[in-house]
């Protein structure tokens, strides 16, 4: 193998190693980017929607209490506005199903909310329900707590998933950085070995040639550098040998 090819092969291997490490890092970093986006898209949006749903439910609960105390206008106004907020937040959550079992939670929320809504949708002021704390505690509050529990379950699912994604991000960042560190360390070791081999295929034979030519000149010894490589330096050794033989003649 020619010296040029040998050196080129060494450099090509270093370049290959660095290129692969670079590609790996780019791939892992792009995955981090996607994970961050997924974290926002998948979980954060649902978490915000869940918070809005809980807030709306609490307002509805207050609205029912106002109706029980006979304040029809204020009570109905709060209930209608909270219902609208709940439904819009629910729509966001329903259109953002990203986790396993999330659909089941959405269905449970829908069912429990409809049950809760069916209670306060009926007239309260001017009926036997007005001023009835027993009715509130047995029917309204129970349904309210059920609906709130289901929304909280959805929140918990997304929070857990968010935590897992965030933990995974830490690993991904290590995976993105490590190839670079490994590539740099490997390249350093590689260069040390490469330097050794350059010495082996270039410097050592050249030294042998110099010593042999010196011996020939100084002591008129037969020229022999004893180069074992089959490359340009071997050709040079043969040519010098021919030259010395011609000179001897």
């Amino acid at each position: 193998m020619k010296i040029k090819i040998k050196i080129l092969a060494g450099f090509l291997l270093i370049i290959l190693m660095l290129l692969i490490a670079g590609a790996m890092s780019i791939y892992e970093f792009s995955r981090i980017g996607k994970s961050v986006k997924a974290l926002i898209d998948d979980n954060y949006i649902t978490l915000e929607a869940s918070k809005s749903m809980i807030e709306a439910l609490e307002r509805e609960d207050s609205g029912v209490l106002l109706l029980i105390s006979g304040k029809w206008e204020k009570g109905r106004s709060i209930l209608n506005s909270a219902d609208s907020s709940f439904l819009s937040a629910f729509k966001v959550a329903k259109n953002n199903i990203t986790e396993e079992n999330e659909e089941k939670h959405i269905k449970n929320i829908e069912e429990s909310y409809l049950k809760f809504k069916s209670i306060w949708k009926l007239p309260i002021v001017g009926t036997d329900k007005q001023n009835s704390t027993t009715w509130y505690l047995s029917d309204v509050h129970e349904s309210f707590l059920d609906a709130k529990f289901e929304v909280e379950a959805l929140m918990s699912l997304n929070q857990t998933s968010m935590y897992e994604e965030a933990s995974d991000l830490k690993n991904q960042s290590i995976r993105a950085i490590m190839p670079g560190i490994v590539a740099i360390s490997s390249a350093l070791i590689f260069l040390v070995i490469f330097n050794f081999f350059i010495g082996l295929i270039l410097v050592r034979p050249i030294k042998k040639l110099i010593d042999s030519v010196k011996d020939y000149n100084s002591y008129s010894q037969n020229f022999s550098a004893d180069i074992s490589n089959h490359d340009e330096l071997k050709v040079l050794e043969n040519e010098i040998l021919k030259l010395t033989q011609r000179l001897q003649k």
Binding site: L16, M17, M178, P179, S186, F190, F197
Partner: protein
């Protein structure tokens, strides 16, 4: 003595190419299962391949190796292998810091089986396969495996075989280097395939069966489950593993001779008989203590005692129970087996039973020479005279071995590790056993030890695997001249 660095680097390169093949298989598993370790395994495989191929461009093969070159290839080959082996762990992340990855890699290749991982089942299957592969590659000897598979001259094979294999191990191999290597390969691969099939039929998944076979035949101990073998709670699986642990702890030459019907078989080997007797006594004593301490009913006591004694006595390190909660008497017996280890010529590391056998025979010889001062008494094993040089070698080895355990215990104690944990982990790592007692008991792990402590223990593992002298001799470069 002449040291041609380029020749050493070339041979280490071949070892790395061999590792690259197994890393690539692990990568294919990860790729097939779409796991997070795909890139880590692929990159590690490529780095190993590049480092392995690189010297082949510049250095021509040689037909002759000096002993110094052979020793350098074996020692540095092991270190390079362990470094490359830690790459997929480091790149994957999770619980693997650099020191944890190095620990897991050294523990794998030296077939120690100690782990620093708390949740093994969380690891991707490709990485788990690599973890078990390190056992399998290391079990027969990294360099031996390489010269077995990859091309090389007979002369260089002979030097490497002499360097990596214990001198005592060759007493039962009356063959040429090439034949010894062939026998090793046949027995090793044959036992692995057979155990895999049996474990599969006993109820393990194929993946688990392969991984546990790798770990058993190499006397390693890495499991794919957090609860090790206790996860399966199956007497059949335990019996299969016990049988194969014993077979893997026996000199491979003896096993081969038994299979082909040669006279020098296991039934005629006094060392084998003594080894089995000691194991039997160990099982009996531990069973009795467990039963009378009312820890388990009788058969349950025998079941767990048999598994644990054989597991530690063959340096495998699998577990069916947490022996850390057993009575002190049973723990002392298990510590004895941790120090004793299995037979020379097997895949186990550490002190080896043969040396203890020679030690007791020497004591007997000394007593007889005191009784009969003028008599010429020679030490014989199965009709073969053991020369005084071998006897002395065994004695010095035992002293050195105990000395290293003592020094490592002291160093770990200095790092505030409690004395029981320090001692048992030192003995378990130099013996390539795996689990110790205290904080590193059979179902526990080494994750809580300080990083420096973990590093010291990896040196212990390498010393145990390379039979101490290999590594130490490299520190005395001048005496090679």
């Amino acid at each position: 003595m002449n040291l041609r660095t380029e020749i050493v680097i070339r041979h280490i390169g071949l070892v790395l190419i061999f590792n690259a093949i197994f890393l690539f298989i692990s990568f294919l598993i990860s790729l097939f299962l779409v796991e997070t370790s795909v890139i880590a395994l692929l990159y590690s495989s490529l780095v190993a391949l590049i480092f392995g191929l690189f010297p082949l461009i510049y250095v021509k093969p040689t037909h002759y190796l000096s002993i110094l070159e052979g020793t350098s290839i074996v020692v540095f080959g092991w270190i390079a292998t362990c470094l490359i082996g830690s790459l997929p762990y480091t790149l994957w992340g999770g619980e693997f810091s650099f020191i944890n990855a190095w620990f897991e890699s050294v523990s794998g290749f030296t077939t120690t089986g100690s782990t620093v991982i708390n949740n093994i089942e969380a690891l991707p299957k490709g990485l788990l396969f690599w973890r078990s592969s390190t056992h399998w590659i290391g079990g027969i000897g990294v360099v031996l495996f390489t010269i077995l598979i990859l091309p090389g001259s007979n002369t260089s094979r002979f030097v490497l075989l002499n360097t990596e294999m214990s001198q005592l191990a060759k007493t039962n191999f009356k063959y040429r280097a090439k034949e010894i290597l062939r026998i090793l390969l046949y027995v090793y691969v044959g036992l692995t395939i057979l155990e895999t099939i049996l474990l599969k039929f006993a109820g393990m998944t194929l993946f688990d069966a392969i991984n546990h076979s790798f770990a058993t035949i190499a006397t390693g101990g890495f499991s794919t489950k957090n609860l090790s073998i206790s996860y399966y709670n199956s007497v059949t699986i335990e019996i299969i593993i016990i049988v194969f642990m014993i077979l893997s702890g026996v000199h491979f030459g003896l096993t081969f001779n038994t299979i082909i019907g040669n006279k020098k078989n296991i039934f005629r080997s006094s060392i084998f008989k003594a080894y089995i007797l000691i194991l039997f006594i160990g099982v009996l004593l531990v069973s009795l203590k467990l039963y009378y301490s009312e820890i388990y009913p009788w058969w349950e006591s025998v079941r767990h005692a048999a598994f644990q004694v054989v597991s530690l006595g063959t340096t495998t390190g699998f577990a069916t129970v947490d022996t850390g909660h057993w009575p002190s008497f049973t723990q002392i017996i298990l510590i004895y087996f941790t120090i004793q280890c299995a037979m020379i010529g097997s895949t186990s590391g550490g002190l080896k039973f043969d040396r203890i056998y020679i030690f007791f025979k020497s004591i007997k010889k000394q007593i007889r020479s005191i009784q009969h001062p003028n008599a010429v008494i020679s030490l014989k094993i199965d009709g073969n005279s053991i020369n005084e040089k071998t006897e002395l070698h065994a004695m010095i080895f035992i002293i050195l071995y105990i000395g290293i355990i003592f020094i490592t215990t002291m160093l770990l104690s200095f790092l505030n590790v409690d004395i029981f944990t320090a001692f048992s982990s030192s003995a378990a790592t130099i013996g390539n056993v795996g689990p110790g007692f205290g904080n590193v008991s059979s179902l526990g792990n080494y994750s809580n030890l300080p990083d420096l402590g973990k590093f010291i223990l990896t040196l212990n593992m390498l010393l145990g695997r390379l039979e101490i002298y290999g590594i130490i001799s490299l520190f005395f470069i001048k005496s090679w001249r």
